[in-house]
Symmetry: C2
Subunit: 308 residues, 2 copies
Amino acid sequence: MQIALVGIGKIALDQHVPSIAASPDWELAATVSRHGTVDGVEAFTDFDAMLAARPDIRVVSLCMPPVPRYDYAAKAIRAARHVMLEKPPGATLSECHALADMAAAQRVSLYATWHSRSADKVQAAKAWLAGKTLRKFTVTWKEDVRRWHPGQEWIWEPGGMGVFDPGINALSIVTEILADPIHVTSALLEVPENRQAPIAAKMAFHHPTAEVAMEFDWRQEGDQTWSIEAECDEGTLALHDGGARMLVDGAETGDETSAALSGEYPRLYARMSELVRAGTSDVDLAPMRHVADAFTLGRRELVAPFTE
Amino acid sequence: MQIALVGIGKIALDQHVPSIAASPDWELAATVSRHGTVDGVEAFTDFDAMLAARPDIRVVSLCMPPVPRYDYAAKAIRAARHVMLEKPPGATLSECHALADMAAAQRVSLYATWHSRSADKVQAAKAWLAGKTLRKFTVTWKEDVRRWHPGQEWIWEPGGMGVFDPGINALSIVTEILADPIHVTSALLEVPENRQAPIAAKMAFHHPTAEVAMEFDWRQEGDQTWSIEAECDEGTLALHDGGARMLVDGAETGDETSAALSGEYPRLYARMSELVRAGTSDVDLAPMRHVADAFTLGRRELVAPFTE
């Protein structure tokens, strides 16, 4: 199937382009971007022009920042194209609900992707946790914003979500592997006094049997931490490196992911192909709902200014 | 049907108690509150004790502030009681989703009430707008917080929502009367420098055909304003006094609400009675989703400190 990629920035070039190139299902047929292009692929700078010129392209994948994404997605759906959304699927929950309703009415597939859910050990972790009694659940997501988001001013603006931009990846894994629902009961958001979005967040969540705590921080230099630890009556699980590694009671689990497909983004594109073939959508807003809840319920504390 | 009222504060005494007393459907059988009581009604200070002592009371109505509400609602649902929630239905969207799932599993009715949706002219406004082409839609909700929320410290705390506590009433009417979905595209939240929650908010929303703007302000002295104006190709509608009055092209519409039932809270209790009889729930989180979206996407500006 032919696909158009919209928003040719870091994530598109690092992940989307190679994943599409490696897939037997997809052919990158066009790009839309003010500045970015991909060698050998027809490049548009205007989205409407692409939709009009290439009615043969039935699927678009949107990789621009969340705030402008709704307008592109709505245009694509109105033009009867299937749509794949980078995370988070939009700047607001309400716009995502509206897009899901539009996609259903137009009978096109809408896929709100959560790439971290496709990390190598996420399904194994979910299977291990099933049926066990959880007592303590700790999420630690600490990275250096200067290293991972150089020059991305939009992440500090309203709608950019600040440290919840990586933190929502943790939440997407958590909401995939936990069988029971959770909800935030307290949140402390540390906001640099010269910025709108938090640079760090500490949260406690309600869970039926466990104490659940999460800490996101963008000020981590040196070693980077993307870890989830689950203490159960039956043993302890740890996911490290954003879901790429899994330990049970301290012992590394082997690489059972012998499936042909490895890597987060190749799995997303395989899933999009399934959704289009099946004529269905996948729009799970739970990770984003937790972020919105933390913003609504969070106590804000001003901290030292941040300059890149 | 016997009902227990939990959280005997201002809203319970002003609205819930008289509405229950006036209804042929309901009998106030117990109250639960640390301090408040109602003459002639069995008073408990502990919720668990009430649930254990009065298995004959099948329905509870929860009027405490949103932050503690989840724990009471979850206990009531686990004890197979039907539950009615004051607005907003909780402190987070995720906890409301969890309650809705619990209620479905326990086969009890859960009703997330929005009292302003039951204001006299809301249904007439919805009917008038149906099929018309909306061009401009303006919501102005300006009141004096000192007059309406004396001593309510919780409204300024995280989860109290600040000016969105009345503003969500406007949003509950808007999401009832508009046929098309809206979503916030920009929000300015004015937060007193000694408080956590906004004292004022200005918002713009996306709508398929109309320019939509809302302004909430808690610093309004003198005349109070709770108005919605809708300019359509076919004419102009205005709702005033929180939905109690309606004007079409400047002319006051007559009082067609000749139904036996008048007033917001009597209608809520009549609806709860219907839900319990029908074995169904009514949990529409759209108004709360817009608030969470405004908190997530909003730009915060510190303003003069507020002291009561």
